[in-house]
């Protein structure tokens, strides 16, 4: 893989990663970046705001748009859920259904449901269902196993 490093004198520091297919090498780089990433940018109305990852309860995709929910606010994100899954899976976030990523640190308690589903009660009292498809990976993740999404 080719890479270019250029020093700039103006503007913000920026890193662009271009890839055709997700390879183990790209995944590894993303994981390294994730370790340092603690913020996302999101829209509240017309204002672009910096959002601390540890404030997010869950991220949901609705009608092709992605929203991050905190205890107080809802942020619209300019990311696809699949990209966020790649970015956040290395830390405390987990893809819990086709349309949702949950912050495991913000889960208050879990309830085992029939058909191998899990009901997660968030710290604000909301309930999130971890679907059957993702439940076994979630259990593995809790036990400390690696899950790459």
């Amino acid at each position: 893989m080719k890479y270019t490093i250029r020093q700039i004198t103006e503007g913000e520091d920026e890193m662009i990663l271009q890839y055709r297919e997700m390879t183990p090498e790209i995944e590894h780089i993303l994981k390294l970046l994730n370790k340092t990433q603690t913020k996302l940018t999101g829209w509240v109305g017309k204002n672009l705001t910096v959002l601390e990852l540890n404030r997010i309860l869950y991220i949901e995709s609705v009608d092709g748009k992605t929203f991050a929910y905190t205890k107080e606010e809802v942020f619209r994100l300019d990311y696809l859920l699949s990209s966020l899954e790649q970015i956040l899976s290395g830390i405390n976030f987990f893809r819990c259904s086709k349309s949702m990523i949950v912050n495991i640190d913000k889960v208050e308690s879990l309830k085992s449901l029939p058909s191998n589903r899990i009901d997660a009660t968030m710290c604000n009292g909301e309930h999130i269902i971890i679907s059957r498809t993702y439940a076994s990976a979630f259990r593995k993740r809790l036990k400390g196993g690696v899950y790459l999404g």
Binding site: S115, T133, G144
Partner: protein, 156 residues
């Protein structure tokens, strides 16, 4: 989701249902066979009719499909209230009706009444077993969750 993973997901979904049906078929076959054996022993016979046994296994297998595909995926492990209670009674009536047609209990009316009640009890027991299993699972899940969150805090 790629075509391959979509096919895999459909296959896994089908397999999960199929395994569930077969598991329940074995469970109910065992329970019915137990009742049948007790009936035979009380009647002074130590022999079981192999045709009756074949009918039992076929019936329990078909009932698994009926529950999944005709009774809107009725799962006695979930709950036994409302619609599911009605399905429990309905399934018990079907089991009893087929047992009457197949003459498992020599058309003895009291035995059929007992059999119907027995099937209802079996459904209730299945519900209680699944409920208890979920409660245990919940305990482990919450312990794992707390351990995960503790590990995260320590790493920060």
């Amino acid at each position: 989701m790629g075509k391959h993973s979509k096919l895999l997901s459909i296959w896994e979904h089908y397999l999960t249902k199929e395994i569930g049906i077969e598991f329940k078929a074995c469970l109910y076959f065992f329970c019915i066979l137990f009742f049948y054996s007790v009936y035979r022993v009380i009647g002074g016979s130590l022999e079981a009719n192999i045709i009756h046994m074949a009918e039992m296994i076929c019936l329990t297998y078909i009932m698994g499909y009926v529950q999944v595909y005709l009774l809107s995926n009725f799962d006695e492990g979930e709950q036994l209230k409302g619609k599911n209670f009605f399905y429990t009674i309905l399934c018990s009536v079907i089991y009893t009706g087929i047992s009457y047609i197949c003459k498992w209990f020599d058309r003895n009316l009291w035995v059929y009444i007992g059999f119907a009640l027995y099937i209802v009890v079996v459904y209730i027991c299945a519900f209680l077993v699944y409920k208890y299993k979920r409660r245990l699972d919940e305990k482990h899940l919450n312990a794992d969750l707390k351990a995960f969150q503790e590990r995260r805090k320590q790493n920060e």
